[in-house]
Symmetry: C2
Subunit: 215 residues, 2 copies
């Protein structure tokens, strides 16, 4: 039983918040359980009690943000395919890309606490830690395949392998942008990091749309 004072957030959530913050700025190895529990104001042992291990905590942090985001991306991508099918036309490339990119970038605004998570996503696919890449890939894979199939329908003239690589370029551009726009610390190559999500959408969409359609 809690000692009477039922604070705003319970232990589990406080751990998740602190872990999210420290994972973003320090990475998986750099974010020690001592630092996480210290910031959360809970005991060191509570991580292992509530989650089982550091890796399980990582999964919980990622799942909490990615699952709702994936739900939105999936819905929007299926909407693009379905409405094109009903009109008997092929899906629009920009609409397909937007269905993936826009929710990803706007997620920051809708969820102020998730801002830190931006940096983490931006690093997710190149993280030096196998564990981080593995967990993120597990969540991203199904959405990426849906995006891939939609893009193939939108660009029937292009070989699937080219579309495949171009989507990877798109993701590389998007994640890199997320990382630097979410990073408050390093002024990255003189970039103004304080760009808002909508402006970033309007900057990246024309770039990747033109890239996907190239030649």
């Amino acid at each position: 039983m809690n000692s009477g004072d039922s604070t705003l957030t319970d232990t589990k959530e406080r751990i998740l918040d602190a872990a999210e913050h420290l994972l973003a700025i320090k990475g998986f190895r750099g974010a020690s359980l001592r630092a996480i529990t210290g910031e959360a104001g809970v005991n060191l042992a509570s991580v292992n009690y509530h989650f089982g291990s550091k890796k399980a905590l990582l999964e919980a942090v990622i799942k909490r943000r990615i699952q709702p985001l994936n739900h939105i991306r999936r819905k929007r991508l299926e909407q693009v395919r379905e409405s094109a099918r009903q009109k008997g036309k092929k899906p629009d490339v920009k609409a397909a890309l937007s269905a993936f990119i826009e929710p990803t970038l706007l997620f920051k605004e809708s969820n102020p606490d998730a801002k830190k998570f931006f940096i983490f996503i931006g690093r997710s696919l190149t993280d030096p830690d196998d564990t981080v890449r593995e967990v993120f890939l597990r969540f991203i894979k199904p959405i990426f395949h849906l995006l891939f199939e939609t893009a193939c329908e939108a660009l029937p003239g292009q070989p699937r392998e080219i579309i495949f690589w171009r989507l990877h370029f798109t993701i590389g551009a998007l994640f890199h942008a997320m990382h630097i726009s979410g990073n408050i610390k390093t002024k990255f190559l003189d970039v103004k990091t304080g760009i808002d999500a909508n402006s970033l959408v309007n900057l990246i969409l024309p770039f990747v749309t033109a890239g996907m359609k190239a030649k």
Copy 2:
């Protein structure tokens, strides 16, 4: 004095090779001095003797590969600007991008040992470790600015801020591609990682060129 057997590589180079390998697959924190010296077959203390610290070793590893690469990129970029100036025309966008991208990707072929370094470069700008980002940025910054100025001359109609962001998208796409193409371990989102450098150049150049020119 060495004990007679002057082996192919001396201690310092053996450390650099082992460090490059382990930094690529494990990251800065994950590549322990114990593992590096173990793989190099030298004593644990020799890193601090020859380089001074782990950070200094990191700098040496990066410098060894980046300096010759930067020399080529600089020469090619200046060539693009100069030949355009002589013809009284603006530089070609694709030529400018190619001057940066092609040497970067072909470096892998010309230098078989540098293949591991690919993964490391691909992670360089999003590395969780401040040290890694700081050192890489110091080397990349001057070349990036040269690329930026060349791109501005090539696209006089576009606002500089848009060009700036689009070059960041380009670098994001390039580095992400380098990371997954250099990564032999994880089959990344079903991508065939064994792509050769020339094919990758031919895949990415049309994408980013179209992106830069968009609208």
